[in-house]
């Protein structure tokens, strides 16, 4: 860490990528990534893992006035909520609600590794933006690493009912609005 800070190099979080202007995705940021994260001037972070983020990360958000939205909702608070389970529909809609309000931007969507849960939400956002399914799936798999994509995640993206999303045209970000009237 000393070497890295003295050499003054920028280190984005694992699996970091811009999705749209002011919308980013990544895995869980570590202290190494904080200088970089500061440059994004984030207003809100959507946290999709059902495990709590590390303390250092929570602290970083508090110092920088970044709102963390815990979007992974366990429907019955049972103990069957495993980290490796996918997101349920309720969690996806709760995350999208944050993504559909331009007041929350600049915004980062992340989970532990930035692969499956983040991929699910971004995939559903692309469906909402009227992307064809093959392109959604290609984008999802780009971030899933050597073990590849999960069929269950892709089924969630395919089965996502975009008509069930309530849209308030006055508050959604322009990049989504542009695609709705297509």
């Amino acid at each position: 860490m000393n070497i890295l800070t003295t050499r003054n190099k920028i280190i984005p979080p694992i699996n970091f990528c811009p999705v749209e202007q002011k919308l980013y995705r990544s895995g869980q940021p570590s202290p190494l990534n904080f200088p970089f994260l500061s440059t994004l001037k984030l207003k809100c972070i959507v946290w999709l893992s059902n495990e709590d983020p590390e303390d250092s990360f929570l602290e970083f958000c508090e110092i920088n006035n970044i709102i963390i939205q815990f979007a992974a909702i366990n429907p019955d608070f049972g103990e069957d909520d495993n980290p490796w389970d996918g997101l349920n529909e309720k969690s996806i809609f709760s995350a999208l609600e944050t993504l559909l309000d331009k007041q929350n931007y600049p915004l980062l969507v992340c989970c532990g590794m930035g692969r499956h849960r983040t991929g699910t939400v971004i995939g559903c956002l692309r469906r909402l933006m009227n992307w064809n399914l093959a392109s959604c799936s290609e984008e999802y798999r780009r971030f899933t690493g050597s073990r590849g994509g999960r069929i269950l995640v892709e089924l969630l993206i395919e089965g996502f009912n975009k008509d069930a999303v309530e849209i308030d045209e006055t508050s959604i970000p322009d990049f989504i609005l542009n695609t709705l009237n297509y």
Binding site: I11, P18, V19, E20, M129, T179
Partner: protein, 273 residues
């Protein structure tokens, strides 16, 4: 004969509406979902319009076969450079799809498409069905291609119709053992990419993996990213064909000259939004 269809056909002939809008209107008018359902209904209801539609579809297919010939010639020339098979322009992949495809209200981004930073985007070689995405979603102003081949005419036409400027900056891919991308060439490309007057800009080669990945790596260098994270991003987009040479090229690229040039013009630092 129906007045609505009459005026629609007239608008098409006067080029007041595009082929796409013409078909869309027909679909809406007969309340059907696709061309497959439209054809029998239209043939029965209004044969004249049906023939016009058939001609329209036929023409779009003819254009493909003419262009195929051109692509083959361009490919033969490329043999001289011993390009990898996977790095080559594949005409089969770029056949103009049936117009029905662009009538289903979906966006078709090109493969390997992503935002790089701000108004800079990356992708593989565009196809005709991507144009609506470029125009309506990205509102592209320019495109930079890093290949020396002739550009497909149907795409050139569509770019000029949509006021998209095409820049060419041929870069020969890094190849074992002796072909290396020169800093000079990279600087030339970067001068186009970083210039805000050209934004929003899309950079592409064939697959959006090697040449595009190398250039994006150099952009990340200008952002002072650590090399490890630059390589990680490069490999994500080049998977499963990452090249060691491209990564070496990114590492050895001397950014001083372009950095000075771009800073003088206040193009740097790059902003995320």
């Amino acid at each position: 004969m129906d007045k609505f269809l009459d005026s629609l056909v007239l608008q098409l002939h006067c080029k007041e509406i595009s082929n796409k809008i013409f078909i869309k209107n027909l679909l809406d008018f007969y309340k059907v979902k696709n061309l497959h359902e439209l054809k029998p209904v239209l043939a029965q209801d209004n044969n004249e319009t049906f023939i016009i539609l058939e001609n329209l579809l036929l023409k779009s297919e003819e254009a493909v076969s003419n262009n195929d010939l051109q692509y083959e010639e361009a490919e033969e020339e490329e043999e001289i450079f011993e390009e990898d098979l996977d790095d080559k322009y594949n005409p089969d992949e770029h056949k103009l799809k049936n117009l029905a495809l662009i009538c289903n209200n979906l966006f078709y981004p090109p493969e390997n498409f992503s935002n790089v930073i701000g108004n800079i985007y990356r992708a593989s070689f565009p196809r005709t069905e991507n144009i609506a995405f470029f125009k309506d979603q990205l509102k592209l102003k320019s495109i930079l291609v890093m290949l020396s081949d002739d550009y497909p005419q149907d795409l050139l036409n569509m770019y000029s119709q949509n006021n998209i400027t095409l820049f060419k900056c041929p870069i020969q891919g890094n190849k074992e053992p002796f072909i290396n991308i020169q800093d000079e060439t990279i600087n030339k490309a970067l001068k186009i990419i970083l210039n805000p007057e050209n934004h929003p800009i899309l950079i592409h080669c064939n697959k959006g993996k090697h040449r595009t990945g190398t250039i994006v790596g150099c952009i990340r260098k200008l952002q002072n990213w650590s090399l490890t994270m630059i390589f990680d991003e490069y490999r994500r987009f080049a998977f499963p064909k990452a090249r060691g040479l491209d990564q070496q090229c990114i590492e050895m690229f001397n950014a001083d000259e372009i950095e000075e040039y771009a800073t003088e013009r206040s193009w740097l630092p790059l902003n995320w939004s």
